[in-house]
Symmetry: D2
Subunit: 323 residues, 4 copies
Amino acid sequence: MKRVSIIGATGYAGSELVKLLTARADVEISSLVSTSNTGKLFSDVCKSMRYIADIPLSPLDIDKIASNSDAVFLSLPHGAGMEIAAAFVERGVKVFDLSADFRMQDQQLFERVYNTPHKRADLLSASAYGLAEFYEREIREAKIVGVPGCYPTAVLVPLLPLIKKRMIDTEHIIADCKSGISGAGKNPTETTHFCEVTVKPYSVFSHRHKFEIDDIIKRFTNIAADIVFTPHYVPVKRGLLAAIYTKSSFSKDELDKVYREFFAAKRYVRILSEPPSMQDVQNTPFIDIALFKKGGNVIIVSAIDNLLKGAASQAVQCFELCK
Amino acid sequence: MKRVSIIGATGYAGSELVKLLTARADVEISSLVSTSNTGKLFSDVCKSMRYIADIPLSPLDIDKIASNSDAVFLSLPHGAGMEIAAAFVERGVKVFDLSADFRMQDQQLFERVYNTPHKRADLLSASAYGLAEFYEREIREAKIVGVPGCYPTAVLVPLLPLIKKRMIDTEHIIADCKSGISGAGKNPTETTHFCEVTVKPYSVFSHRHKFEIDDIIKRFTNIAADIVFTPHYVPVKRGLLAAIYTKSSFSKDELDKVYREFFAAKRYVRILSEPPSMQDVQNTPFIDIALFKKGGNVIIVSAIDNLLKGAASQAVQCFELCK
Amino acid sequence: MKRVSIIGATGYAGSELVKLLTARADVEISSLVSTSNTGKLFSDVCKSMRYIADIPLSPLDIDKIASNSDAVFLSLPHGAGMEIAAAFVERGVKVFDLSADFRMQDQQLFERVYNTPHKRADLLSASAYGLAEFYEREIREAKIVGVPGCYPTAVLVPLLPLIKKRMIDTEHIIADCKSGISGAGKNPTETTHFCEVTVKPYSVFSHRHKFEIDDIIKRFTNIAADIVFTPHYVPVKRGLLAAIYTKSSFSKDELDKVYREFFAAKRYVRILSEPPSMQDVQNTPFIDIALFKKGGNVIIVSAIDNLLKGAASQAVQCFELCK
Amino acid sequence: MKRVSIIGATGYAGSELVKLLTARADVEISSLVSTSNTGKLFSDVCKSMRYIADIPLSPLDIDKIASNSDAVFLSLPHGAGMEIAAAFVERGVKVFDLSADFRMQDQQLFERVYNTPHKRADLLSASAYGLAEFYEREIREAKIVGVPGCYPTAVLVPLLPLIKKRMIDTEHIIADCKSGISGAGKNPTETTHFCEVTVKPYSVFSHRHKFEIDDIIKRFTNIAADIVFTPHYVPVKRGLLAAIYTKSSFSKDELDKVYREFFAAKRYVRILSEPPSMQDVQNTPFIDIALFKKGGNVIIVSAIDNLLKGAASQAVQCFELCK
């Protein structure tokens, strides 16, 4: 039985963590922390979980939580949890951080992309990138696991094996991504207003996940990529679909073989022969991937649930590696 | 050519007014007022109207607007436009007010329901209820037209003719209503967050439109009703459907005859023999109505576009009566 | 370990049954039958279940299935499974039938409502109505469990305890119900075309579930009711919300007390103090219920997932009672 | 006053044609033809148009229609209207054909892409491609106007001016397109079932519009392109958004200048500085376009209403050119 706590339990990703972890027989929830909802039950905020998770929401008491938790999940806004993560690490508790704070190991890159100083850059080298299919050993050994963003997950999982083997043209990688609205977070804004939601790209040429993707391609394959990445919102509550355009001089069979071999033992990766759909991965921990080729052109389509494989279930997958 | 101005041009109802009025050859827009967007163009805020309504948004200058407008439409939050309406009336400009401020003539009722003092109760007796099919003469003669709420429109249009003729049992009237999310306004809140929108009743036994409905039944028919009214939000951007349950000792033919006669010359009322649907009235100025009867039970279903027949096109309908 | 088979595994309710039953450690799937998809895997049809339920779909072989199943779930169109159910009963296998065929015990009523002869009326008296909270003993003892319809579940669960205690006015019961589109089944029709889906009532005064509701009220309470029932479709994939209007001379406290006592040990009934929402029960086996009272008027709002508590999870709930 | 007839008036594109043409003071509807709905009124099928277009649907009587129509719009399935178009041409009536039958002038290309013989290839040279911004003279002079497909419209309008001027790299053009479900037509299928609709690509590397796009690029610019084109369905009733990825050695200013000059007098093309959204063009005849550049990479985003600028309003735009 592992005891875990979740800091930031009432956001969209945090709530999914609670759902996943309360459903497990081998995990015990020690504390659910929500600064804004202290005193309420978790199920007062996440009402679908009434009777299932009537757990009090507590304030953040690091010593107490550290003393009764084997692992801590942080689901806080970017920049808000750096010191908190460090405090748990100092108390010997492993941290799974769903924010961007510990995804990059290059402090300067982080500070440029997120436009904020990194308060605990000393810990970056002790962190692992929580893409479970690719960083198993590092995740197991690290003090902090920086769980990947939703877009990077959908783009990197299908790309990394092919780039590692130098089988696609890294000068030409375009990722056109479509995300459900929960990706914009729980805070009500004009973007998330029901009457304003439509199909629309945003942050063209400037989204922060582009830099996370390039960074991990470099770290995992030692190739400097500079991908073109365009996120769109679509009128769906949850789910994320990526269409990745690249080129290759290898045959479809050769590319398929890489997938078959690399993903053979990866239980949450499903390789399909037809295009994935957002619906088929909603409420699941899977990433569905299909690769198409014609002439020199390659199209890879991947789909995940942005709140699960793109956040909460990915964090749990990392946690499982560490048991 | 009539010159009109719209105060509060960038809310959902205000924007629809601009769309309707710019499309008319017989109307000229004098001023579009938006305090929060002064200096922008209307089409900077309501982007679908680029090239169609690239009209500057101005601050509120009552004297100037009064001098160049034959009529003024107010589309402001409840309570915010009482003095403004009065100022235009004092300058001899007819006011069509889409808020609740001039819908009731009983000051005490208004103050109890809206829980705020009425600053210009002196004008209530000079106001008309802008339900165009029922108050034509009053609308023409009044200084201020209080344009009805969306729910009252959907409920009152089918009920008033039958109640007036004493043909239904006013002790048993239940209105179960379903509204699109634009009914909650443009301000982003938890209620309007895309990921939170679902099918859900709200303000059970306490919605303010219940009192507006009872009040107009009393004024139009002299019968004191006390209807049961339940509003729901449904995941639709615009549209409103009401199912009204009552009883009658008259035959369906007799009830139908009342509709045929009363609505014969009402161009925006469509009497159907099958259930109305929200989609068939979206983006139209119509109210669709069908009446069903079995034994003593009557079900009347009506549908409107909440932003048009439930707000903007109803205001324009009143305006047309006054030309 | 119980061995179960599902006949009609690829419809919407059947698929949900497969999802629920494959997730259980105490159940083993013997056969999944789909006449139209024989030869495929279940996960070829229900693609979200790839890797989870890659189970072959077989033709209907009653002897084989009877020999290797402790229970059989039928999820077939009304009228299509009467003889199949009988064949399993004759082979000593308990049947959980999700169609309407064994919900009523009165042959004439069934034949009038469904406009088709009942081929195995001899078995009606050996069947139980599978509303688990009310017919526990009968469900345990019956040879066939007729699992309730989605609308009857949402309406009967909150009504039966109050009617049984003679605490509401059964002369005045109106149920205004809103269902997700999966309630219309998997067959593509104009009704289920994405571009035609909107908010709209259907089968006004004529829906078959009205008679099921009246019948069960009579059987459970010995009171002849004649409720007014109006179903609507709303643009939601799954979920069902009912607003039930009635009258009572008892206080809200007295009514609440009935609920508290009756539902105290019912694990899938959640009594709320605020209006239920469709979203809070989606993908759950719960029915959420809230009761409101003002003067003599009562409004009860209930919500279920039409494919779970309104079909598949209700069937599993019945199955659990029989272990 | 021009007299027009519409053959195929009750499909999604045909209905939009009726809406547009009945709203015009300078057009008179002679006949609305619907083989499957003969005898009904148009508004019996398209119920939102009750009171607006209560026009009888007639069978196809070519001589009669030819004698009372100045122009005919065909909105029939691909391949179904070739002989009908020819019959009108032979009677001297100009044809605006919304199908693919007269979009290509190369018979072999048509037959390969649509996998059907062209029955009236003799008329291909007398046809014009109805992309109004680019083929004004041809549209005016042709006997048949082949109105473009929805995807080609969204892709070609922004690309043609830049390719014509040799300012982008035609070896690298990728169009990732997202369409509302009305693009799949009115016929109910698994694809259009509300519960199956999600975000999903289809016809990867094989959609017929890719060949239409390449063909028109060749005809308009004399450059042989071979674009990569991926269509997706998204859960929206109407609307289409394209993200087009290419490369250019020209500056953003230089590219913008081409747009400014080319589209200066094109009233239905709106050049924006921020990403277009599907909602801003819904129910409008506009195409919204924005161009972004970083390094050598260009992203052009365009949005149309697939039923209007992608079908009906484009046809009317062509018709207007011919008055």
